[in-house]
């Protein structure tokens, strides 16, 4: 009896939360038109969401590319197919690891910061104060951060993949002696602009949208206490990561039949 009741309460709670999140998304999207008139706010957010995430993305991208080069070479050389190394590295990065790992890092680095910032603004009544000063916090605070996330994500993912390909080159060509021309031509042979690169970009836009949405919503919906904000931050990272991985499966199955 009690368990059934709890299940019911949980269900109702979740439905209400989804409803709030959806309404919130619509409000945010409607506010994006306002942000266009305040490019300075968007700039500031692209800086804190994008530029400050750049270093971790570049370093991770380089190492992931190097690991792919090493692992790919060791596997392929058994079949005498190390000429395909460039293709393997590039396909892995553009289709999967670029968008997915960037989104995961982005959720951890920028998403959590967004949630904490907005949650703290709520806890210290800054959002309420803005409302009372006839300033809509969704325009002023939420929408620029959301938009910055959506814009920054594909750029970061592209840089991740670009640096990764270079990392693979470093290991494969400079270290293990695959021919440079073969590395690039194999890559160009196997990677298609639309099927691979464009789909990868679409993935990263979707991930950016979802991570930014989750991050600003969790912050805005946080219980306005320090504990509430810390829980919201954790929820952002967990929910965003799970959503990324689940969405990646769905998108992959739709894109690469």
């Amino acid at each position: 009896m009690n368990a059934i009741q709890q299940l019911g309460a949980w269900t109702l709670g979740s439905v209400a939360r989804w409803g709030r999140a959806a309404i919130f998304l619509f409000q945010t999207l409607a506010s994006c038109a306002w942000v266009v008139r305040r490019i300075d706010l968007l700039m500031q957010q692209i800086f804190s969401v994008g530029v400050l995430t750049l270093l971790i993305i570049l370093v991770s991208g380089l190492f992931v590319g190097m690991v792919l080069g090493l692992q790919g070479y060791n596997t392929l050389v058994d079949f005498g197919a190390e000429t395909s190394l460039g293709m393997v590295v590039a396909l892995t990065l553009t289709r999967e690891l670029g968008p997915v790992l960037t989104a995961l890092l982005f959720a951890g680095r920028a998403g959590s910061a967004l949630t904490a910032e907005i949650g703290l603004m709520k806890a210290t009544e800054q959002l309420a104060a803005m409302e009372m000063m006839a300033v809509d916090p969704i325009n002023r605070v939420v929408a620029p951060r959301f938009l910055a996330g959506v814009i920054a994500m594909p750029l970061l993912a592209a840089m991740f993949a670009g640096v990764g390909v270079f990392g693979g080159y470093l290991v494969g060509v400079s270290l293990l002696g695959v021919d440079a021309g073969v590395y690039w031509s194999g890559m160009q042979e196997g990677v298609d602009l639309y099927a691979d690169i464009l789909n990868g970009v679409i993935k990263s836009v979707v991930f950016g949208f979802v991570v930014a949405w989750i991050a600003v919503f969790e912050g805005y919906d946080a219980t306005p206490t320090s504990e509430g904000v810390s829980r919201a931050t954790t929820r952002t990272v967990v929910n965003a990561s799970l959503s990324i991985l689940a969405l990646d499966f769905i998108l992959t199955s739709l894109m690469f039949k």
């Binding site: 309420a128 104060a129 803005m130 009372m132 000063m133 006839a134 300033v135 809509d136």
Partner: protein, 267 residues
């Protein structure tokens, strides 16, 4: 007397199963400093949220300057809020902005004034609260009392009709408290505003208020000027004004009989 600036008529409100207001009525006249006092948790801040249109009562009307706030649509509500000032308990300064930018914030957002004019205006308000020299500090560098004064300067930046103060005296040292008390009165009289102070500090409320309302049990249980309130014979009013631990508001949270509770033990 003329028509009141603020009228709260027969407001009912419940928060889930918890009934916060049943039949709340109060009036604030232009130029007055009105104090709303009452025990913690009796929903005083909720009242300010009604006036600012951040919450809606279940029934009843909130009329400010002839406008029924409960009926306003979004855009009209934001237009209306430009004429309200509010000082929050936690000051609620925007942490990314300096003192100057905080006070300038509502002006920049809501008007098209030139930067020169904004500068004059902001410095004037900061001078009024005695913090013109602190204009470049960040909120994190301010003491609690100073932050409260900046918040006050920001609340009056747009020269509002009505300024609302949410617990302006809480958590301040005696000097800062004295400063705030003096400022609220001064600002109200020199700038010709109307003030609504929500507080549980009876002594300070008595010093500044022209008129007081004591809330309890979801409605006004006593009202009048400070002298009348102090001399009231109504038991609820006496208990609160004099800070008596036991009275109509019980010291004990409702519980079964003590003796029964101890003898009975856990079943």
């Amino acid at each position: 007397m003329s028509k009141p600036l603020l009228e709260i008529n027969d407001v009912h409100f419940s928060f889930g199963a918890n009934e916060v207001y049943r039949a709340l009525n109060l009036r604030v006249h232009k130029g007055q400093v009105a104090a709303i006092i009452g025990p913690s948790g009796c929903g005083k801040s909720t009242l300010l949220n009604f006036i600012g249109g951040r919450l809606y009562p279940n029934s009843g009307s909130v009329i400010c300057d002839g406008i029924d706030v409960t009926s306003l649509r979004r855009n009209a509500l934001f237009e209306f809020r430009k004429r309200l000032g509010m000082m929050f308990q936690a000051s609620a300064l925007l942490t990314d902005f300096s003192v100057f930018d905080n006070v300038a914030f509502p002006v920049r957002q809501n008007t098209n004034l030139s930067e020169t004019l904004i500068r004059h205006l902001v410095l004037m308000k900061l001078e009024m609260v005695g913090l013109r020299g602190a204009r470049d500090l960040m909120p994190a560098e301010l003491s609690g009392g100073m932050a409260r004064r900046v918040a006050l300067a920001r609340a009056i930046a747009m020269d509002p009709l009505l300024v609302m103060y949410d617990e302006p005296f809480t958590g301040l040292d005696p000097i800062s408290m004295g400063v705030i008390v003096k400022l609220i009165r001064e600002v109200n009289d020199t700038l010709g505003m109307t003030s609504l102070v929500v507080t549980h500090d009876v002594r300070e409320a008595c010093t500044i208020a022209d008129y007081m309302y004591l809330l309890g049990d979801g409605k006004v249980i006593g009202e009048g000027n400070p002298d009348r309130m102090r001399e009231s014979n109504v038991p609820d009013v006496r208990q609160f004004m004099n800070g008596l631990p036991d009275g109509p508001v019980r010291y004990h949270y409702p519980a079964p009989d003590y003796a029964d509770d101890i003898i009975g033990g856990p079943v």
